[in-house]
């Protein structure tokens, strides 16, 4: 799906959310959530092909998946945490969004831990 259709979808969703905002605010947020899910679905499809290329490049470069997988995991955690906190801010819950971003950062660090370990092992084996 090309960018024009996606942006048209986003604008239509924003318009519908505006209509609902005054009368039924809860449904307005559900509608923005649904639009976000649809847009992210298209982005994930596009990203899947990028992921395939990245994996084959990593294999030819001789990088073991153990090194490469934490990078993808951290990217995933970052993307999901940012989007979810943006939705929470939309609903006026700035506090919840801040808590979620902190938790996301902690989980990303946890995911990156094996990467640091792998790099350290390769370094120590070189020395």
């Amino acid at each position: 799906m090309d960018i024009f259709k996606l942006s048209a979808l986003a604008v239509i969703a924003a318009l519908c959310a505006l209509v609902l905002r005054k009368r039924v605010p809860e449904l307005a947020m559900a509608l923005t959530l649904a639009a976000g899910v649809l847009l992210l679905g298209e982005a994930v499809d596009a990203l899947a092909s990028v992921r395939g290329l990245a994996d084959s490049l990593a294999r030819t470069a001789g990088l073991s998946p153990r090194v490469w997988r934490p990078v993808w995991k951290t990217v995933g955690i970052g993307v999901i945490a940012k989007l979810a906190s943006a939705v929470c801010k939309d609903a006026g819950e700035g506090g919840v969004a801040a808590f979620l971003e902190t938790a996301g950062a902690a989980l990303a660090l946890l995911a990156a831990l094996p990467l640091v370990e792998a790099v350290f092992n390769t370094l120590s084996s070189l020395l």
Binding site: M1, L9, I12, A13, C16, V19, L20, R23, V24, E26, L27, A28, A30, L31, L33, A34, A35, V37, L38, L40, G41, V44, D45, L47, A48, R51, R69, W72, K73, V75, G76, I77, I80
Partner: protein, 64 residues
Amino acid sequence: MDVDFIFRIAAIGILVSVLNQVLSRSGRDEQAMMTTLAGLVVVLMMVVQKISDLFNLVKGLFGL
């Protein structure tokens, strides 16, 4: 299918808001509240289904 989903939710929202007005005008405020909740539950059921599909996709992609 994508835009229909948005329009379906918007239609439910407008329907709920109209019912809300009618019920609250005729003095039945608690039923108006119940209608809003019912509309919200219906919409959330639809959205939650989409969200779980998306999260499975993301889980597969990022290996989470």
